[in-house]
Symmetry: C3
Subunit: 366 residues, 3 copies
């Protein structure tokens, strides 16, 4: 078989994504472009990202017009369940690992919108927040957290996820249990439901890593770009050094290729045995940057650690953009690496299968 | 029209540059190469930058010899006014926004050296330094600063500029007025005319951002590489996070594509609505790096935020190298993006017009 | 001559490498792949690096089979002296500057394994550790350190090397002599032979820089990726700012192109007159990343500062992979830069000679 043949025929495991979710007609008509950028951009600027241009091109091929307003009008009128099934169906995705922390639609409910097999990932921060809401003592929260995580991993959940990057940064400390307890005890009336206390965030992440390690389940960490509430300096994966040294037995997945810290992510994943690399979000958001990004990823990261993901959320188009991007660019990069003498054809095909499917299949025990 | 046609025929707005200034014959003959590098390089090494090789090529085409010493001899004998008018004239630049803080020749005086329309930018640090020299109380300095800035923006000045990156770094704090007052009060006899007190630098930058926001004028911030007095770690634009969150209504322009933190600049400008990106200095200094830099810029930065600039200073050749570079590389990059399916031809032409002229025209209200 | 002709015929000066050293049969058969990655990777993942795939290809061309197990079996049976001489011989390397700090085999003993001229580099941390082991007072350690370093540089050693990046990071402080003395006095029974006290590490590095400056000898600094005991954030060369400002007269060589902080290394070496750039380790480890890395290096670093190195260690194959990589990729990059108009052919040939040989020849006074 050819590289292109392998890439095109391998079913995808999407190791990090989110549910689609019904949007209002107004949202689609007036703010559709904002789904194609992160941060706080208005439609005025979001319309001028290459990612939105790719979305227009996709809508054009679906609805058969190149008038932007007309495209958005038709898009706002679709039946989301069938439209989503159709779009995700055309990506050749076999399994979707869905973060249950965003959006409101649960992974279980998401199953109605896709024929792919949806498997949930437990986001830990909402769990902690809910437990703090409902319990009076730190020890109760810890006990319940441990129970919840352990049961989730023993049940349907295939991994944990943390958004520590959004809360207090990847420079995770090593708080003592007493530090965390003290932080809990001082939350008091200021507690507004959002976990932002560094001793607490870091303490529970350490607990999560320990529990995941014991269950042989991976912990996914948001790294790199994203919403505006993350400090763009402290999403650099090199800050994870102490955490990774502490939890050498726990598989940790750096999400989003840590874009723009891509080469740093390569450094980290080539240094620590249990650090893995997901390429979602960067792909498709970086668009023309995906091909050089994949080349950078392969510089030092073992190909046995790189995994496809879309980070698609809310709208099914993102699934298509991500899948189209990986199939096009992985083919190009692998063909080029063979032509340049870095890989032989047979091994390149192995890399294709591993990145698109096998690495995730093994890591998450699917 | 073709992309190349649009790029070649669009008049440039150079959104960040400096005046040319007469140089001694010795400077031209012995240290001309040092204008083509930043930092503290001697001619010994400066001669071995690709940027200087490009300058030699330009001089060669102008003076018709490829002997380096002879080129420098002829260059040292030019009439600067006419030579400058000729060189800047060949760049097709319509408007130059000139930083009035360097060199000594003012933007008004600079007008004698170019037929382009020169519009001044107010650099705030020299303003503050002069006010500290001339006033006894902090409150007087603040009052005068506010008056000066407000009047400048109501008058000819189209923007403010800060070199906080060179003084105390982009990790701008949030000093209270009392902190700044205390820092002012302790300057005492140690005051040597150079503003380096972090509470003062940061306080006045916040004031400047507030005033600029009120006047709907942009604040340009030096980011990325430059002179040796900037700490190369703290010129990373991700450190601007807190400042940008505080002044969400003020347009902020990251100068120099934050080179080498180019992808980080993309991250920041794709996150904050009012963060814009200038590509001067990196272009032309990075020479063979400009084309991949433009590709990286377009990964996530909206094309509606990217603006041409030269950062040319002291010698007119830098204007030519920058303009030649943007016209050549923007054409290549846009043609490639169309060929690769990321943009359609029509939109690519829009991008060309926007980057070379329209984005700056709108942002600075020209 | 052509660029390719110059590149192929120029003898290499390898400005940073390590001795080869006999390995057990088991090591070769079971863990050979781990020599081709840094950090803590097991053979399971190390086998999936592009660098190991290149090694397999090299072994294949040498032993004439493509069966991995058979290749490793044959490799485990070689006579290391003759095999090493043959392999290093085919690289066209004239001089190897060998770090005497790793592995155990000394540069002098290494001479038996190569016909290239081996010249030693003094790694300072083992010197300090041995002196602390053998002396009771701080002043004695300092005196002996100064004597040892001075005599080494007056003798065979061509440079110093520091692994401060592995111990306390490149954010080198400016400890007073009294701070260092106090740190020495508090080592006490906790001293385990490994120097990790920041005041001591930093103090002796400053002493080393001063002594090297006086002897006009370079100091090599590990920067960028490497073993798992380096914090991946604090190997960024921008952290060297204060050290470089303090020792402006001492030539400092940033090793490994500071990968992944390559453009940051370019920034630093284009800012400080006496900062130089070695490309070892990144080359060959980054494999398909070497060509873009060289292009990034040439963006702003003067070509008069860039030097070939392999960082080969323990096994001779790494010498071959590095030499093959630089000859292939430097040719491609220089040919492309000529074709793209950045360099003329004659100057490109000068660059080739300088990078492969002349820059190191001058800097180390060979």
């Amino acid at each position: 078989m050819t590289i292109a043949g392998v890439v095109d025929s391998t079913p995808l495991i999407d190791n990090h994504a989110h549910a689609v979710e019904p949007q209002s007609v107004e949202t689609i008509r007036e703010a559709f472009s904002t789904f194609f950028t992160e941060g706080e951009l208005s439609p005025h600027h979001a319309r001028h990202t290459l990612n939105y241009r790719a979305a227009l091109s996709l809508l054009n091929s679906h609805f058969g017009t190149d008038d932007e307003a007309e495209l958005l009008r038709r898009r706002s009128e679709v039946d989301l369940e069938s439209y989503s099934k159709e779009l995700i169906g055309q990506t050749g995705t076999e399994v979707i690992l869905a973060d249950d922390g965003f959006p409101d639609l649960s992974p279980t409910e998401f199953q109605a919108y896709t024929d792919a097999d949806v498997r949930p990932i437990l986001r830990i921060e909402p769990v902690i927040e809910e437990l703090i809401d409902g319990h009076d003592t730190f020890e109760d929260v810890v006990d319940e957290f441990e129970t919840t995580v352990t049961e989730a991993l023993a049940g349907d959940h295939v991994a944990l996820k943390s958004i520590v990057a959004y809360r207090t940064g990847l420079n995770v400390g090593a708080p003592e249990r007493s530090d965390a307890r003290e932080a809990f005890d001082t939350l008091g009336d200021a507690w507004d439901g959002r976990l932002e206390s560094k001793p607490l965030v870091d303490f529970f992440l350490h607990r999560a890593c320990t529990l995941a390690g014991a269950a042989d389940a991976p912990v996914q960490l948001h790294t790199g770009f994203g919403d505006a509430d993350a400090h763009p300096h402290f999403v650099d994966p090199t800050y994870l050094y102490d955490l990774l040294r502490t939890h050498r037995e726990t598989p940790v997945v750096l999400l989003h290729a840590s874009y723009p810290y891509v080469r740093q992510a390569g450094y980290v994943t080539s240094t620590f045995e249990e650090a893995y690399l997901d390429v979602s979000l960067a792909l498709p958001f970086a668009q023309n940057g995906v091909e050089p990004l994949l080349r950078q990823v392969f510089e030092v990261t073992p190909t046995s650690k790189v995994m496809y993901g879309s980070d698609a959320f809310c709208i099914p188009e993102l699934y298509v953009l991500a899948a189209d991007r990986i199939r096009a660019d992985l083919t190009t990069v692998l063909e080029d690496l063979v032509a340049e003498g870095f890989l032989d054809e047979q091994y390149a095909e192995t890399v294709a299968r591993n990145v698109l499917r096998q690495n995730a299949h093994s890591l998450y025990g699917l």
